[in-house]
């Protein structure tokens, strides 16, 4: 039974479908011709061999309606740019530019430039859209330039030059900020940088003036060549290389210095190892993953760990320190996880629909949901139960020092019932059975190994 990938429909020459566990790319005449040229190039074999381009094989059993078909390996976990950290988007941008430069040298171009064509596999960016490659025709400009600026360059500028998170913007508008938007956002000094003058100010002005004009043949007749694209790509590459973000992890350092963190960490790790050994999961979601300490433990046990946290700096640190192998990093608030969006509300599925974990880690998180986000304990447990998977959970009692901080400015009547250990256990019993439990040393926290009822 073949089903269409709801996120693959824009390019008429090529689109992805699922045939059971198989991931197929169906091609029309033009797509097949482009594939044949790509496949015969050393660029393709080198890029696949180095892990930067998804491995691809042509198959003989072509489904009805297609002229050719390719098969790709399944991406273990699909994430979107609005869930990435700064360095993830930066690495993806560099990959996009490098592949374009190498492809052009082989007489091939990339007809778009969107981070949605890149996925992170074992901690590294991999270009997955084979259908984006096609023959370069002399005199043609880089069609994806504007898209590159909106979806890679400008979001990176937001963080590097204005210290603003790009994720909310890309989540709200997947096309990314326009040059005109960036002109408004960047402060005077930043706007006067030569690269900003060109990519932001000049692009905004020239786009406004020339909207709707047909210029491709003019450029061709004037002698436009691939060398000009390459010169632009080289400069963009060094600009992006130079962009940095001082992500400072002060908040996290403070958190690490809390008494309970250092004291309980190893006990919780050992307890988690036992729980994971019992459920033997393939995919684990680490809710409120923080620095990914427990995600790393799950990954070391052979699971794919999906580390979700709304605080970008800690996940940025996790990515930079190279703990990304077998860990999927997701910047997303648990109280507002990435929704299904895009065309027909289906193009980019919701985070929780993509995660599909068979084990849930909820260490050090539910008290933030209950006390900071004011989610009733009963609702928190219903939500955890909805994963329908074994769950390792840390209960934090109202007497805990962290809870005291979180409720410093809240009145008792502003808090939901079900917070005491006794009440919480009643709610727990409605949803889960306790396989094991362990009271942590401070006397205010209990960790549970749970299975859904």
């Amino acid at each position: 039974m073949i089903s269409a990938d709801p996120g693959s429909f824009r390019d008429p020459a090529s689109h992805v479908v699922f045939d059971g566990e198989r991931v197929l790319r169906l091609l029309d005449d033009r797509g097949l011709e482009a594939w044949q040229q790509l496949e015969s190039s050393t660029f393709f074999s080198n890029a696949v061999e180095s892990g930067r381009l998804i491995s691809t094989t042509q198959i003989d059993d072509v489904p009805d309606g297609a002229v050719g078909a390719l098969q790709h390996p399944r991406i273990p976990f699909v994430s979107y740019p609005y869930e990435w950290t700064f360095s993830m988007l930066k690495d993806a941008a560099l990959l996009q530019l490098d592949l374009l430069a190498e492809a052009l040298a082989a007489g091939i171009t990339i007809k778009d430039a969107t981070p949605f064509n890149i996925q992170f596999v074992e901690g590294n960016p991999v270009f997955i859209d084979i259908g984006s490659f096609e023959k370069y025709r002399d005199g043609e400009p880089w069609i994806g330039y504007r898209q590159f600026t909106r979806q890679f360059l400008f979001p990176l500028m937001l963080r590097a030059w204005a210290d603003l998170p790009f994720q909310p913007w890309l989540r709200g508008d997947m096309e990314g900020p326009t040059a005109g938007d960036m002109k408004q956002i960047l402060s005077g000094g930043k706007r006067l940088k030569p690269s900003a003058l060109m990519h932001v100010s000049l692009q905004a002005r020239i786009e406004e003036r020339m909207s709707g004009a047909s210029v491709r043949s003019d450029l061709k007749d004037a002698g436009f060549s691939a060398d000009l694209i390459l010169a632009n790509v080289r400069k963009l590459r060094s600009l992006i290389e130079s962009m940095t973000w001082d992500h400072g992890v002060e908040g996290w350092s403070e958190y690490q210095s809390c008494d309970h963190v250092g004291r309980d960490r190893e006990t919780k790790a050992e307890f988690l190892r036992g729980a994971l050994a019992r459920s033997n999961p393939k995919r684990v979601i680490d809710l409120g993953a923080n620095d990914g300490y427990f995600s790393v433990i799950a990954a070391e046990g052979g699971s794919l760990a999906i580390a979700v946290d709304g605080y970008e700096p800690v996940l940025e640190e996790l990515y930079r320190t190279g703990h990304g192998e077998n860990i999927a990093i997701v910047v997303s608030e648990l109280t507002n996880p990435s929704p299904a969006q895009g065309w027909a509300g289906q193009e980019r599925p919701a985070l929780m629909d993509r995660a599909k974990p068979d084990h849930v880690i909820a260490y050090g998180v539910i008290h933030h949901l209950i006390y900071t986000a004011s989610i009733p304990p009963v609702t928190v447990l219903d939500w955890l139960r909805s994963f329908d998977a074994p769950t390792t959970l840390e209960f934090v009692s109202p007497d805990d020092e962290m809870v005291a901080k979180l409720t410093a400015n809240k009145l008792e009547l502003e808090l939901h019932p079900g917070r005491s250990e006794a009440d919480f256990r009643v709610l727990l019993d409605r949803n889960f059975s306790i396989r094991q439990e362990h009271a942590l040393e401070g006397g205010t926290r209990v960790i549970f190994d749970l299975v859904p009822n």
Binding site: R10, D11, P12, A13, R30, T109, K111, D112, E134, R137, E140, P141, W142, I143, G144, Y145, R146, Q147, T149, M198, H199, L202, Q203, R205, I206, E207, E208, R209, M210, S211, G212, A213, S214, V215, R216, S217, D218, L219, D221, A222, G223, F224, D227, L228, I229, A231, N232, K235
Partner: protein, 60 residues
């Protein structure tokens, strides 16, 4: 030509010639000049067409 499904943005296409360096600026200028001359030629042709029509109308 490339059958693009993406709106590349006319201004952004011209801009990337400029971003290609000195040689690119020359290309962008040439393309702009050709464009201006093309526009002028169209305007001239339109002007002539209007004047032809006017003279036809006045003759009738």
């Amino acid at each position: 030509m490339i059958f693009g499904y993406l709106d590349a943005g006319s201004g952004s296409l011209i801009l990337q010639a400029i971003l290609g360096g000195l040689a690119g600026i020359a290309v962008a200028f040439k393309a702009w000049k050709a464009r201006m001359m093309g526009k002028r030629a169209i305007a001239q042709a339109e002007k002539e067409a209007v004047s032809d029509e006017t003279s036809v109308n006045s003759e009738s």
